[in-house]
């Protein structure tokens, strides 16, 4: 299974390369605004659909159109709240299938569009489902597109949870105080045909998502779900834990989430594996999060450059992890990406160089 043609539309840029370059230089987009730290587009965006369309258009410029049109292509939209800003004025548009329907109509290469909505894990689950659908011969290619806006709806909600930090977030840091909401659209294309890609793609080995059946909004302190998910993924992919060169974690910078993840990584023996979270650059982008973070991780693999965990300074946990305090030039061949979210969902995937 091949993976590539990534795009990112974020406050840091309109392509994956541009966004990666700015992050490499240490730039982030989290700014103080109306008493909060947020990563938002300027000018403000009221709708996510045009951003998703721009994101997919850019991704499509990295694939061979003739091959795409000759084969069967599925669209997976990964979102938590879609056009939530329309809830008062045009509630029809707030139905999440409004996005998949409109995108499918816009692009003639898409045979079917579906929506996956499983909170912050939506993006990683979309990649897993894409892999499954192609492996089982239902489709040849899948366009995975994640997007969410930093809406008042979401900001007020997280605020009521006391989950928002009053400073730029600091994932895995001893003094982390919570998350910053961000917004973005990001696209990745998976395919069974290597020739679809104009640039060398990477290999998607597999993944799985496990519910921890513990609590709908609190991470499991024992990290059972995440551990099980990573163990299953290693098993499915036939990869040993010491083959993992790098972990791109979820790392929201809330006290409990990062504590849970650190526990999982330690228990699984990943203490010497470089880890980062990218939330310190562009905040928590919800349904887009795992897509944009995977897109950046693909860039890291292509450039053999791991990005520092922006915002992280001091270790917190009993068992120390190799959390990246500086960018690191290193040959990376196999990576693990994880996500955890509300509803007790924990997902993980493994990606490898060809």
């Amino acid at each position: 299974m091949f993976i590539g043609a990534e795009n990112i539309i974020s406050p840091l840029g309109n392509s994956a390369k541009e966004t990666f370059l700015r992050m490499k230089n240490g730039e982030g987009s989290i700014k103080y605004k109306d008493g909060l730290f947020l990563s938002t587009f300027s000018p403000l965006q009221d709708e996510i659909l045009p951003l998703l369309i721009d994101s997919i258009s850019d991704s499509l410029s990295f694939v061979n159109e003739t091959i795409l049109l000759k084969s069967k292509t599925l669209l997976i939209v990964s979102t938590t709240k879609g056009e939530i800003n329309s809830i008062n004025s045009h509630i029809k548009n707030s139905h999440l299938s409004y996005l998949s329907d409109n995108i499918k109509t816009f692009f003639n290469c898409i045979d079917k569009g579906i929506v996956v909505s499983t909170a912050c894990v939506s993006g990683l689950q979309s990649l897993i489902i894409a892999n499954d659908m192609i492996n089982h011969n239902h489709y040849d290619n899948v366009i995975i597109c994640g997007g969410d806006l930093a809406s008042q709806f979401v900001i007020t909600g997280f605020k009521s949870f006391y989950a928002l930090s009053d400073a730029p977030c600091s994932p895995f840091d001893k003094d982390r105080k919570g998350l910053n909401i961000g917004e973005a659209a990001s696209t990745i294309i998976m395919s069974n045909n290597r020739n679809l890609y104009k640039e060398t793609p990477l290999k998607f080995l597999g993944g799985c998502s496990i519910n921890d059946a513990n609590h709908i909004s609190a991470p499991d302190r024992e990290a059972e779900g995440l551990i099980k998910s990573i163990n299953n993924t290693l098993d499915i992919c036939n990869v040993m834990s010491n083959d993992i060169d790098f972990i791109n974690a979820h790392g929201t910078a809330t006290v409990y989430n990062d504590g849970m993840e650190a526990k999982a990584f330690s228990k699984l023996g990943f203490n010497n594996t470089p880890v980062n979270s990218l939330k310190g650059y562009f905040g928590h982008t919800l349904g887009a999060a795992a897509v944009i973070e995977t897109a950046i991780s693909l860039q890291s693999m292509k450039n053999n450059l791991l990005l520092k965990c922006k915002g992280f300074e001091n270790q917190d946990f009993d068992s120390k992890l190799d959390i990246l305090t500086e960018n690191r030039d290193i040959e990376v061949s196999t990576i693990l990406k994880t996500s955890s979210g509300f509803g007790g969902f924990n997902a993980s995937v493994i990606i490898q160089k060809i």
Binding site: T80, K81, G82, I84, I87, N88, I91, S94, H95, L96, S97, S100, D101, I114, V115, V116, S117, T118, A119, V121, Q125, I129, D132, M133, N135, H136, H138, Q152, F153, T156, G157, F158, K159, S160, F161, C208, S209, I210, N211, D212, A213, N214, H215, I216, S217, E224, G225, K228, N232, F342, G343, G344, F345
Partner: protein
């Protein structure tokens, strides 16, 4: 009229309602007591989760022997309205300055999978799809993938949708590969 039906295979359950006389709150409460559920958490849930819990309970009671391996039950659900029923309440909270985390947490459609997993202690795969209509082809495709790859032993599949007083639930449990047409018979 509200109706609860079991098909002859005993492995599907359908609840639909569209009249205004029997409002969803009293229906769900009535079902809770009728089933003798002793689960106070139920009353904290939004209606989408309550409906999912009731439907799953009915299905479990019909298929006791199926639900033995708790780490091997997959949940594949779909609906049209996502969490809009709770979204509207949270949005009103923003307008009235009465935002509550207890409402906000339900503004994600997959929470119903979380609630079902917690209630039955199922630690396994789960996914929530959204579409205008029930897509038995997609649901059967994904259920077959999980079973074929041995990632689950049985799957709870179906539709659970709530929008104010309109609600509909169509659930079934399968432990072998199922064709689109067969799933249609069970769910439509």
């Amino acid at each position: 009229m509200t109706k609860t039906l079991f098909n002859k295979l005993g492995n599907s359950v359908k609840i639909t309602q569209s009249s205004i006389e029997n409002d969803i709150n009293s229906f769900l409460k009535e079902m809770y007591y009728k089933l003798g559920l002793d689960y106070p958490k139920f009353f904290k849930m939004d209606n989408l989760c309550k409906l999912g819990i009731i439907g799953t309970e009915l299905l479990c009671r019909k298929n006791k022997d199926l639900f033995i391996r708790k780490d091997r039950v997959g949940i594949i659900l779909q609906n049209k309205s996502g969490s809009l029923d709770s979204d509207i309440i949270h949005q009103q909270g923003i307008t009235n300055n009465t935002v509550s985390p207890g409402v906000f947490v339900y503004t994600l459609s997959n929470i119903v999978i979380g609630e079902i997993s917690i209630k039955h202690k199922w630690q396994s795969e789960g996914v929530f799809f959204i579409d205008e209509d029930l897509d038995t082809k997609l649901l059967s495709q994904y259920s077959n993938i999980l079973l074929k790859e041995g990632r689950t032993d049985l799957n709870l599949i179906g539709w659970v949708d709530v929008m104010k007083n309109q609600y509909s639930l169509k659930l079934c449990v399968v432990d072998t590969e199922i064709k689109d047409a067969e799933l249609k018979i069970l769910l439509v």
